[in-house]
Symmetry: C2
Subunit: 311 residues, 2 copies
């Protein structure tokens, strides 16, 4: 379906298979049968480990660095630990202690920076210049990231008679582009829809315009995994023809979806992970008669925020 | 290992396989490698469906009734729906709307009763007398319940090299006795430990005394699935020799375990479901060097209570 430069096939040994569940309560609530693919139980709690591990096993550098306040930092730290590499994660000095501790517990070093003074990208450049023999890794705009994420398709293959379309959260486009590549490789012909916060709808606007459009600043959506300025260039090349569409999800629907997954399916999803469910919840007519599979991309969420969302 | 009267083997077609997960964050927090078997994604959200479905498929009656304010009522209602039977669940008039709605959504009828006026058992007797051709079903003290729950052992079999002991919540003893029977049938020689609230430690006291001891009244532990007066007679016959021990878990450790599973493993567990984790958390030395598997028996919990527990 899409040609990528030849790369090592994603290594599977450390990856946890995605967890496929179906809940009759959720089906009743949504009025249609829905499958969930839970990446909340992936290593480090999100799909990002698929990408991070593929980068770590294919990089020739002994020390990888990235800028991430969230799931990719944890994923890269643990991937580096498993592959015997060093890892440094640039994080805003305002990051929660829990997030900093998670990176450190997975063996990563943390460089706290003031993002009001300089952008994360600038801090990252500085760190690379300072450290020398290191590789800076993008959480999405990298062929190894896309290939790593594409391994999710092999996990979905045995279930492909149970769904006819997939709704996947979209931020930088790493997971959605990976899924499209993986579906092509495995001959899975289900449509792939992106689910994006309405507040951060750069990908939807890009799709309408036919070229990458960026947000002016980081949009403060509840779905913090989708607070990207734009999709990556490598991702865009796959997404522009591979996506069946992008559904924009308002903040209330994101919150309602976290609650719905909690109450009707016993799933702990982070707001970004609930985007696919939110897209369905706010577009039931569009998917009437379909058999959607929703990718719950991650589960790492601050307990105080989660408590507010479900109470 | 234990002889039971010959019964139909538990039917598996409607049962969801248990979900086995491992979390490196949880391993770090507990200081040992731990496997989780999540029955939170079982049909109706708890292991009880295994039992309920086996009863429904093996009962000659067209209408089943039970007294349950919790998981067994939902499980029996859905099992009856799938097998074309009627189902009535006796519930306290103080039950939450969500719990009543869950039974009704699964096709069950609800009979709300005043448990201060008469006990649930008396209300159930009255209902049976009134309805005539119905069967009253115990959530635990029934051979079909034990056989149904024993199907969990077949799900654990492919993973049995990864654990050497199992910690399982104990209330009426339905799941723990089922697991012992299933391990015997499959030649799994892992020790089975019960995990019981200290506030409701009738099973632990029974094991020490060598005969069934009952609580005087329903103990108000956070683990509402273990608020039973005593283990069942049929369960006791299996438990008294089959258990490696019972670990009593205080209320603080139950709450801490719900939090721990949420924060370190992305698991939504109800307090009863977190009992096995609580047993380990408060007895780390006892299990040092072991490879425990913790059965997370269910995930249905009131969102306000859950929010208080994690915040």
């Amino acid at each position: 379906m899409h040609k990528l430069p030849p790369l090592a096939r994603p290594s599977k040994q450390a990856i946890s298979p995605t967890v496929i569940v179906e809940s009759e309560k959720l089906n009743i609530a949504l009025g249609m049968p829905v499958l969930l693919a839970l990446e909340t139980f992936q290593q480090t709690g999100s799909f990002k480990f698929r990408a991070a591990y593929n980068v770590a096993t294919n990089s020739t550098f002994a020390h990888l660095v990235t800028a991430s306040s969230g799931n990719f930092g944890q994923a890269l730290a643990y991937a580096c630990k498993l592959t015997g590499k060093a890892c440094t994660v640039v994080m805003p000095s305002t990051s929660s202690q829990a997030k900093v501790a998670a990176v450190k517990n997975f063996g990563g070093q943390v460089r706290l920076v003031d993002v009001l003074q300089k952008s994360r990208a600038e801090w990252l450049q500085e760190l690379v210049a300072e450290l020398g023999e290191v590789e800076a890794v993008s959480p999405y705009d990298d062929s190894r990231v896309i290939e790593g994420n594409s391994s999710l398709a092999e996990d979905l293959l045995p279930h492909c008679h149970r769904f006819d379309c997939v709704i996947v959260p979209i931020g930088g486009g790493g997971l959605s582009s990976g899924l499209i590549v993986g579906f092509g490789r495995n001959g899975i012909d289900a449509e792939v829809f992106g689910a994006e916060p309405l507040l951060a709808n750069d990908a939807a606007r890009s799709l309408r315009a036919g070229s990458i459009i960026s947000n002016d600043r980081e949009p403060m959506t509840l779905a913090d995994g989708a607070r990207t300025l734009s999709v990556g260039k490598k991702n865009w090349e796959i997404l522009k023809d591979g996506l069946a569409g992008i559904i924009e999800v308002d903040e209330d629907s994101i919150a309602a979806s976290v609650r719905l997954l909690f109450n009707q399916a016993n799933v702990k999803a982070e707001p970004t992970g609930a985007l696919g469910t939110g897209a369905l919840l706010s577009n039931k007519e569009r998917f009437a008669g379909r058999k959607p599979l929703l990718i719950v991309s991650g589960g790492n969420v601050d307990p105080d925020l989660f408590a507010r969302l479900i109470a």
